[in-house]
Symmetry: C2
């Protein structure tokens, strides 16, 4: 349980420190997501820049900004000149924990994880692959594509400020991508796989990361697709990697975790409420913009609750009533906090809601993983 | 042999009709490749446009252009208004045959292909996946990323001319990508695979296509990486799909075909000679620009000949002297045409060289495939 409390305290740290509306965190905790920079062509940027400018919150961080925030890749960061600290900032370490947690769930679901030195070492390499390497790669690409709008709204960011050159960024993306795919291949060999499942998972995830940020597909342009891709990257991909590492990734687990990712989509929507005004001005169709805030609120909690209830129903149907009951027990406080915070005022209480409800969702993931392992 | 002569006559058609230096054909026959649009930022485009403008060959096709050329996606095309013909043009059908041939090689190498209705049907679906769907997806993305430079040099192209809207292009990319990956999944089920090898191959190939054209990785910016990615997409990927469909894709075949792809890299370089002047002006580091034309000529023929000779050596070492001899017999005319045409004047004779030498390389691929099938 030490791991769990560590993960939730990290997530809480994230929640309380993240006031940044413009940061996009694919393959990342939906706690800090925003997709406000969608559908920006060069021309659109130039046109809309002035409208947005007036609203841009903090123009630049204080010179006395936090070095810790800088390293975590979150707002309030100190202006940094050390290239390695800047490189780390671009990979947004604060977004890694959920991916690392996903690997834990997959390992648990495999039913084969042993507390041996070897299995722990394997897990650590798998977490390295999912977090620092492939999430880092994703975050760096995303910052690269945001450099033009960042130049207007957050000119102190590493890329627009020129603290790191574009060539250095491209090198970083190569190293992280090839490193992540390479680690995946090593894990396949280590696990004695006949088919390099983890290698292929890493390839598929890398494709997803690319089309999330890069036009013409640019998934984050679309409220449904972008948020679901985030949810799936956050819940399914690391689970699959962990499960393939220690056991067998079966089609029913693939379907179950993809369904679970709909809850991730719901969580991703939470972050669209605070940027409704800017999104509307820029003509971006986030779900609150497209459906109105009232409807979007219910789409959001519906996605979160109905998904988890369905999984509880599945566990019941699979003859695991105790696990199903535990999951329902973990859904209850989420619903409570939805009424107490989110449904009352999704903008004012978004961080409070995420901080209070998310640990229960995360524990529910582990309960489901353990249930499927028997 | 009917298939072979059909393929080479199609390739010859391509050679004689392709005078277009600016078209980029990833996952495509290196016969018509050029990567002249590398490293173009918006600003660079604006700056360099005037220099290039003066050199742009045919400014617009005659109103009486060829409807057949239009459908094949090659130059001299008629201005077309039918949206389906425009969609077909974007997928550049003229670039499909080598991919289809690659599937034939893989099927031959598997040693399991039978002339039954079922196996032929499977092959056709695999060819559909490799050619129209995944090559079509690749070509469409590439045209999307070239729309700004095309607006200057070839304003009559479908995207810059507005004959097809950007939303329609994005829809086409989605349909082709998901269709190709879907067909791959169907092939896996059809072949009774435990692991969806072809599905994962399609995912990996799709990633490669994306990073070939899309920044920040944009492989085509780099003479070595871009040309090798082309060579591998042209030779290895469809071979792997065909072999996985009918047999087992073994690590030694993966390595052998990747080595063979170095010959593909050599062929891709042939097309860089005609655009040396423009590339130099734009600061693009194609190999002839980077090493000078004299050196690049020898890198090019070296890559083509040494690779094939090494494969012949491998076949000899594997106890297949007759196949090795056949391959050497097919290398000889390529060397002859290199001296007769390419080394004399790579710009003047590029099409003649490709048309005369390529059929022998292609037959060599099949010889190698058959050799490895025993």
């Amino acid at each position: 349980m030490a791991t769990i409390s560590m993960a939730s305290s990290l997530l809480n740290t994230l929640c309380s420190s993240t006031s940044n509306r413009r940061r996009i965190l694919p393959l990342a905790p939906p706690l800090s997501l925003s997709r406000s920079r969608r559908r920006l062509t060069i021309r659109a940027t130039e046109t809309d820049a002035n409208e947005v400018k007036a609203k841009a919150p903090e123009k630049a961080p204080a010179a006395s900004g936090s070095g810790f925030n800088q390293l975590l890749g979150i707002k309030g960061a100190k202006q940094e000149t050390d290239i390695w600290k800047i490189r780390l900032q671009l990979t947004k370490p604060v977004t890694w924990p959920p991916l690392i947690w996903g690997v834990v769930c997959g390992a648990a679901a495999s039913g084969n994880f042993q507390w041996t030195v070897e299995d722990v070492a394997k897990s650590i390499v798998c977490m390295l692959m999912s977090g620092p390497f492939l999430t880092g790669y994703t975050q760096t690409i995303n910052d690269w594509y945001d450099r033009e709008i960042d130049a207007i709204n957050e000119p102190y960011r590493p890329i627009p400020s020129g603290a790191i050159s574009e060539n250095e960024v491209i090198t970083q993306i190569w190293v992280l991508l090839l490193g992540g795919i390479g680690l995946a291949g090593i894990l396949d060999v280590w696990a004695g796989h006949n088919y390099p499942t983890i290698f292929y998972l890493a390839l598929g995830g890398s494709l997803l990361s690319y089309i999330y940020s890069a036009p013409p597909l640019k998934l984050k342009q679309n409220g449904w697709i972008g948020n679901f891709a985030l949810g799936a990257s956050y819940i399914s991909l690391p689970w699959w990697a962990g499960q393939a590492l220690f056991g067998t990734l079966t089609p029913d687990i693939v379907v179950l975790t993809l369904l679970y990712s709909i809850a991730g989509l719901g969580i991703a929507i939470v972050n669209d409420f605070k940027s409704v005004e800017g999104d509307r001005k820029m003509g971006l169709q986030s779900l609150p913009v497209a459906f109105g805030e009232e409807t979007a609120k219910w789409i959001c909690v519906g996605a979160i609750d109905i998904t988890q209830l369905s999984v509880a129903g599945y566990l019941l149907g699979a003859g695991k009533p105790y696990y199903a009951a535990a999951l329902v027990g973990l859904i209850a406080p989420q619903v409570f906090f939805q009424f107490k915070y989110f449904l009352k005022d999704p903008v004012k209480y978004d961080v409070k809601y995420q901080a209070s409800a998310q640990p229960f969702l995360i524990l529910g993931l582990l309960v489901t993983a353990l249930a499927t392992s028997h």
